[in-house]
Chain length 225, copies 2
DNA sequence: GTGTGAATAATACATTTGTATTATAATTAA
DNA sequence: TTAATTATAATACAAATGTATTATTCACAC
């Protein structure tokens, strides 16, 4: 099988070279790009044709100019095919969360054995896995577990079909935002009279008779925010 | 090193025995308990002394009487030291989420190779990892990613000291509930005039000038609901 | 092609709300 | 003790809101 094309993004020359010299022992992996920070990486990759791009990027998180999180966020949008393994010394909760949010495909600690990093690269490419250092995996799981209640709350409501028309929803949204008739009319380019009529209809449908109560219904049903 | 003591909980005899005969080839693992459903498992484990208990439980999810999710939920409370590997044919999103919430320490698909199941057991015990079948790991990550916004929203606010007095908070709460001056006064046994004065003060403090906007501030700061 | 629902618009009136101002008692902080 | 804050209360006026009613246009379904 073809060797896996990877990139390494890290500002510490020492670490970068240690990685490179170690990984170069593995025939199945080919390092085709090095960068010293996120911006450098984005610049370099923009210059490559699609088939020249790396399949996997080992991305440090803490870097000057543009850090790994931001780089992944931007890169994932432009090159969704590339997979990113975050490689960092820290196992900070927020960083982990941010990395996942940005679209990281794996998260390894730098003190991981090189053989494990290689294993992780192979796992991502050939098994579609999500390699994580054990400590990281625990944290990710804990994160999910801790937020379970919150997530649960936000499961779609099942009931509530679209009682309100699109226009009415639009107007209710402005009410929730604290706009008055006049302002809503201006925003939507309609007469304030029309707005009032819509709102009267909204009240009918929601069985309320003032803005505050309408907002309450909208909030409980989690229609906005 | 000592062998790892595990339990197997599955209602399908065939599958159970396949697992057992396969795992018994590995000297490092010792099967010390079998159960056919969650209830059976809880009964059996309750009869064991602490040092007799399994370190790892391979737990099926779909089972009659008491399913794996419920069993883990209950067992984790009573025996937090035991680790649970969910082992199921389905990779249903909700089930995965429920399992994590219940406290599962890993999640493998049943079509995983036996060697991988053994590897997973070893990983949990000796490396503190969270073994997951690649497909599952992807889903867990996606789940976390999808809910990122929601989780973020619930991070504590840091700012906001109690600008508002207790009384003012009380009254704002009624506003959020959609009550008018009259009604708020009745509920709090004060004159509607007083209510209006309080509300005017609230508006001053929150830098707003109507109920809807006040509600918006309260909602954003998550003071109620 | 007729009817239904949705969006638009206007008028009119009663009610509620927002704001200003003033005042008193109770509590709290300096 | 004094000053500041909070809670209480009332009056008055302007602005916004809630409600009723009527009417036109448009799109879509039957």
């Amino acid at each position: 099988m073809n060797s896996i094309r990877i990139a390494i993004v890290d500002d510490k020359k020492l670490l970068r070279e240690a990685l490179i010299s170690n990984i170069s022992n593995y025939a199945e992996i080919e390092i085709i790009l090095q960068a010293v920070d996120g911006m450098d990486f984005l610049d370099q990759i923009a210059a490559l044709a699609e088939q020249e791009r790396p399949q996997i990027v080992l991305m440090d998180i803490e870097m000057p100019i543009m850090d790994g999180i931001e780089a992944v966020t931007l890169a994932k949008e432009k090159y969704p095919g590339i997979q990113f393994l975050m490689l960092t010394v820290f196992d900070d909760d927020d960083k982990l969360f941010d990395a996942i949010k940005a679209g990281a495909d794996g998260y390894l600690l730098k003190d991981e054995k090189i053989s494990n990093i290689v294993k992780a690269i192979v796992e991502v490419v050939y098994e579609g896995g999500v390699p994580m250092s054990p400590r990281i995996a625990r944290k990710a799981l804990a994160l999910l577990r801790n937020k379970a209640d919150i997530i649960e709350q936000f499961k779609p409501d099942a009931d509530n079909d679209h009682l309100l028309s699109n226009r009415e929803m639009e107007i209710l949204n402005r009410i929730v935002d604290g706009l008055n008739y006049q302002e809503i009319g201006e925003r939507l380019f309609i007469s304030p009279h029309t707005v009032r009529k819509h709102i009267a209809n909204i009240y009918d449908k929601l069985h309320v008779s003032n803005k505050a109560s309408a907002i309450k219904v909208a909030t409980q049903k989690r229609w906005f925010n």
